[in-house]
């Protein structure tokens, strides 16, 4: 049976799938979202949290490009805070607790309200492929649905195994049915797969916890939003708090005594999945950091509509009885009722060097992948990729060049470039240290960096675009004004109240703001125009950190020059005899599109690049 034809089919309704489907449909393409369970759309199977260091900036980027995550999170806040507020502007990021009921509900509503988008509940088990080109998908029951493009966003569902103690069962998160054959079929079509592992901690009944033994972790008193829409949906005075507790020697002793029962420490002998370094199980923490007397745990509310408290930091693959003992050893949790036990999950992913920067696979034309299937972890990483895959799938249909964000333009650019250039060993998480130009990739300037692109691809409407243009204009005007207006010693009385050195000679406001102790908001009385908060903040950062920002821009320009040196698709690395053998092998695997990307591959040295340059000149001189 053949179903009707779609332009784009998105397989999977997680954070990647939602963004991909919305982007495609909003760009006017007839889109089908296929998901195993419509009620699990935009589900948060792990942390009830959106954002965090680096990730929070990704959410801003998604919003600036015209994606949904930021807005949807704003509608679902339990609490929100600005991380690293006391540090420099480059590392500030928002982190929110999002309601696990509201978030998916709002997202589902948005999906349903979107034109050109249909949702279908089904499992995809195979792909329709002709001559290495995608033609559609085949459902579990044999139904074929045709399309020009397929975007796979299957998360952890491919051959998912839930591991607890010495048991392994084929099951997705929440007891969902996994996809048993899709990854085999991908392998048959030439994809290299990798087995990965991650885990999630226990959920505890709220009223079984004695919160008096825990430290209160409230949200910020200042109002924040992820989205540049700046619409506030929450009551800043009624945020739901988290709580902080610590493990103790007793907890550690229970873990050490039962170590061999953990799936990862001998409970199961067939573990192939590689777990994330940044998300160690509590067993790992206790074993690897034996000297540490205690480990920090957070009690995070999952929703105001039900009772589960997420026990952050306590993920484990111990059997249930040991988990009981472990949880009850914690302060305030002596009588805790475990609603859901912790588990580890093993799943298939595709090795990401098989992707182009557009997130189209190199193996099958018109097949795109995004999210955990590409070896990443995290809702934000998934959503960012989903958005890019959705945009680029549409651009491909439209016969346009893909949107490829550079490393100096977006964390999303860093993420995708890392995946396709370096591959992965364990599930990939964004960290600020992965971004060499992080000073350029700030929370405050995501719109200035990306909304132009969002407008070009048609996801930022004219109204929003006008706001962006006005902001850019205001920034320019303000900078000029600050350079022109001079103040003199006459103002010293006021300056002293700002705790800054009095003036001897006249000074421009621009130079005054360079002083670290001067807050731009305190000198607006000297300005002739009014500017909004965002414009003032932007200019303050531009002036105060100019030296550092300029240095980063210079470094980025160097890279961009190499980025412009393209490597043709059809290059045959075996013909370049002088390449070192490791470099040749890596270049064949990654098939970089530019010399800059080639240089980022570990194992490719400057000398190899030199040889490559000479070869390109020789072979492609007429092109």
């Amino acid at each position: 049976m053949i179903f009707m034809n779609y332009e784009i089919i998105v397989v999977g309704g997680g954070h990647a799938g939602c963004e991909a489907a919305l982007a495609a449909a909003r760009k006017g393409h007839k889109t089908l979202l296929v998901t195993g369970n419509i009620n699990n759309i935009a589900d948060m199977p792990c942390n009830p949290s959106i954002g965090g260091s680096a990730k929070g900036i990704v959410v801003r980027e998604i919003d600036a490009l015209g994606g949904e995550m930021g807005r949807n999170a704003d509608k679902s806040l339990l609490q929100i805070k600005m991380l690293n507020g006391s540090k420099g502007p480059a590392v500030r990021a928002l982190r929110a607790q999002a309601d696990k009921i509201t978030y998916p509900k709002n997202m589902l509503k948005t999906l349903k309200d979107t034109d050109n988008l249909e949702i279908k509940e089904a499992l995809v088990e195979d792909l329709l492929i002709e001559n290495k080109k995608i033609k559609g998908v085949i459902l579990e029951n044999g139904t074929k649905i045709t399309s020009n493009i397929v975007i796979l966003t299957t998360g952890t569902y491919m051959k998912a195994d839930i591991l607890v103690g010495s048991t392994r069962r084929r099951e997705g998160p929440h007891g969902e049915r996994p996809s048993n054959y899709l990854s085999d079929n991908l392998a048959k079509n030439g994809f290299k797969l990798i087995r990965l592992k991650t885990g999630t901690p226990q959920r505890i009944a709220r009223d079984s916890i004695d919160f008096t033994k825990a430290k209160l972790e409230p949200g910020d008193k200042e109002i924040h939003t992820f989205s540049y829409d700046n619409k506030v949906y929450y009551d800043v005075n009624k945020q739901v708090p988290c709580h902080l507790i610590y493990t103790n020697e007793n907890t550690h002793q229970i873990i050490l005594d039962n170590l061999n029962k953990s799936s990862m420490y001998g409970g199961l002998d067939d573990i192939k999945g590689v777990g994330p370094r940044y998300c160690p199980s509590i067993e790992d923490k206790v074993v690897r950091f034996r000297d540490k007397e205690k480990h920090q745990l957070f009690l995070e509310p999952e929703s105001i509509y039900y009772d589960d408290i997420y026990l952050q930091g306590f993920s484990t693959s111990m059997p249930y009885d040991v988990q009981e003992q472990m949880v009850h050893s914690l302060p305030g949790l002596e009588n805790a009722k475990i609603l859901k036990y912790a588990y580890a999950i093993e799943y298939d992913a595709i090795y990401p060097t098989q992707l182009k920067a557009s997130l189209e696979t190199k193996v099958i034309e018109n097949l795109f992948t995004a999210g955990q299937i590409n070896g990443t972890s995290g809702y934000e990483e998934a959503a960012g990729q989903g958005l890019i895959a959705g945009i680029n799938a549409s651009l491909k249909l439209e016969g346009k060049e893909p949107l490829v964000l550079k490393r100096n333009e977006a964390y999303i650019g860093v993420l995708i470039d890392d995946l396709i250039t370096k591959g992965i060993k364990d599930p990939y998480r964004l960290l600020t240290s992965r971004a060499e130009y992080r000073l350029l990739l700030r929370h405050d300037n995501a719109d200035l960096r990306l909304s132009e692109y969002g407008h070009q691809v048609g996801l930022i409407n004219n109204e929003k675009y006008q706001i962006l243009l006005k902001k850019k204009d205001d920034i320019k005007t303000l900078l000029e004004e600050l350079k022109q207006i001079k103040i003199t010693a006459k103002e010293n009385d006021y300056l002293i109240t700002l705790n800054t050195t009095p003036l001897n000679n006249g000074i421009t406001l621009y130079d005054l703001i360079k002083r670290p102790e001067i807050d731009i908001n305190k000198i607006t009385k000297y300005l002739s125009n009014n500017y909004n908060k965002e414009v003032l903040e932007q200019v303050d950062i531009m002036i105060k950190y100019k030296g550092y920002i300029d240095k980063a821009i210079k470094e980025a320009e160097k890279m961009e020059n190499l980025e412009k040196k393209k490597i043709p698709d059809n290059i045959d690395y075996d013909k370049i005899h002088n390449l070192a053998s490791e470099a040749r092998q890596k270049l064949k695997e990654v098939r970089p599109t530019s010399l800059a990307q080639a240089l980022r591959i570990s194992g490719v040295n400057p000398a190899d690049i030199s040889i490559l340059m000479v070869y390109l000149k020789k072979e492609y001189r007429h092109e």
Binding site: K87, G88, R277, C279, P280, F289, R434, N578, S610, K618
Partner: protein, 449 residues
């Protein structure tokens, strides 16, 4: 090819003329920064210019600089060639200055590569150019292995180890701000670590200089008033058991003219033209000439007369010797003491006439250059302008951070510079491993949900 590259393009040897070639869009700008002749940028193409290479105010070498504008050059880019005369140390110093001022050290075969990429060389030669790059890279890595001893390599590794622990700490503070049990990196700790780093790097640089001195010889000049016995001292030093090692024909200008060895230390004597023929020539070097020579030497043997009080000329020379490596050779101890020597420094009392105590000059030189404790064979030193330039960039980076600290710049911004330093040090030992930082972060700190 948007950057400007530099390399020494002649085989290196003491006393020989060497050519340092600079190619790229910034060639004229960069060379002008270190050249006394400030008309280089505006000068016509294919012209030769006379002047000094300078490091700040210090004159490094008297040179001829050729300016060639693109595209009629070997690489089809702007090229400057610096003809220097000063032997390995000076040549390396010039290269180092170029690197500090914005050049990048040319990769093996890079001038030829650029010539090819810019269409200067026939396409049929492409294969041989790739062969050349491959071969030279092998040579270079062998040289790199030999050029840096295990000790230095370990020293650099230790420095990087210190840095990475600070960097990882700052990163973990950024990425996991909610962890209250992780220590917050403080300015105080960064300062401590930086000042230690600075000391160690200065020490390495000093040892590196010493190493080069031992390897290539110390540029030495003998100065003093007429008739204090300069030529007799020289004759003693060049005496029978202390053979002359080389005697290179002098170039048009003053250069190394003879090398002698004292206690395994090579002294390259400059401006001693004709010493073998006419003692008078050395002896007749006057005060005015002495003052000039002092600037060019790494070691000055300042000869005074034991039998006379210090004269106005002597004091003139002493004034000039401030901040220089010099030894005061007090000659004619066979005569009656007249000299007021209390304020003189690095004193050696000799009688050249009777050939008494002349060997003490060697001991004093060792003391002066801190060579006493160091066995020649045990010396740990860095070679090459590249590594020295990198270390100087590291020192510059440390200064930038100190400046940032003064201006209350946030720690995560300072960390960007710290990471630069860490990468620079990694370049010296050829170790820049992408995942190193993350590995360090997650092995050192227990974080994650």
């Amino acid at each position: 090819m948007h950057d400007t590259i530099a390399a020494i393009s002649t085989a290196q040897g003491v006393g020989a003329i060497s050519i340092i070639r600079v190619s790229g869009p910034e060639a004229f700008n960069i060379v002008e920064k270190i050249f006394t002749n400030k008309n280089l940028k505006t000068a016509p193409t294919h012209t030769v210019h006379y002047g000094y290479i300078i490091d700040g105010k210090e004159k490094i070498d008297e040179v001829l600089v050729s300016k060639m504008c693109a595209p009629k050059t070997f690489t089809c880019e702007d090229i400057v060639e610096i003809n220097a005369h000063g032997g390995i140390i000076t040549t390396n110093k010039i290269l180092e200055l170029l690197l500090i001022n914005g050049c990048r050290l040319a990769e093996p075969g890079e001038f030829t590569k650029r010539a090819f990429l810019n269409g200067r060389i026939d396409l049929t030669e492409a294969e041989s150019i790739m062969d050349l790059i491959e071969a030279k890279t092998e040579d270079a890595s062998k040289m790199a292995l030999n050029g840096i001893s295990g000790k230095v390599s370990n020293m650099i590794k230790d420095l990087r180890e210190d840095l990475i622990s600070i960097i990882a700490n700052i990163e973990v503070n950024i990425d996991y701000p909610e962890y209250e049990d992780i220590e917050e990196m403080t300015i105080g700790k960064i300062n401590d670590s930086l000042s230690k780093l600075k000391d160690k790097i200065n020490k390495i640089l000093k040892q590196s200089n010493t190493g080069e001195l031992l390897k290539t010889g110390i540029k030495t000049v003998i100065v003093g008033r007429p008739n204090v016995g300069k030529s007799s001292i020289l004759n003693c030093l060049v005496g029978e058991e202390k053979a002359i090692v080389t005697s290179v024909q002098g170039t048009t200008r003053d250069s190394v003219e003879a090398s002698i060895v004292i206690d395994n230390i090579i002294l390259n004597l400059i401006d001693t033209a004709g010493i073998r023929k006419t003692d008078d020539l050395v002896e007749s070097i006057g005060v005015e000439k002495s003052l000039k020579l002092i600037d060019q030497a790494d070691l000055i043997l300042f000869v005074v007369n034991y039998n006379e009080k210090l004269t106005k000329e002597d004091r003139q020379i002493i004034e000039k010797l401030k901040n220089k490596n010099y030894i005061t050779v007090i000659n004619k101890t066979d005569l009656k003491k007249q000299i007021d020597d209390e304020k003189l420094q690095n004193k050696v009392y000799v009688s050249a006439l009777k050939n008494e105590n002349v060997e003490n000059i060697g001991n004093e030189i060792k003391k002066l250059f801190n060579l006493e404790q160091i066995e020649t064979s045990d010396l740990t030193y860095l070679t090459g302008a590249r590594n020295k330039a990198i270390l100087k960039q590291v020192l510059q980076g440390i200064n930038d951070i100190n400046e940032g600290i003064k201006n209350n710049i946030a720690i995560d911004m300072l960390e960007i510079d710290l990471r630069n330093i860490w990468n620079l040090l990694g370049q010296i030992i050829g170790e820049v491993y992408e995942e190193e930082l993350l590995d360090e972060l997650f092995s050192r700190f227990c974080v994650g949900k």
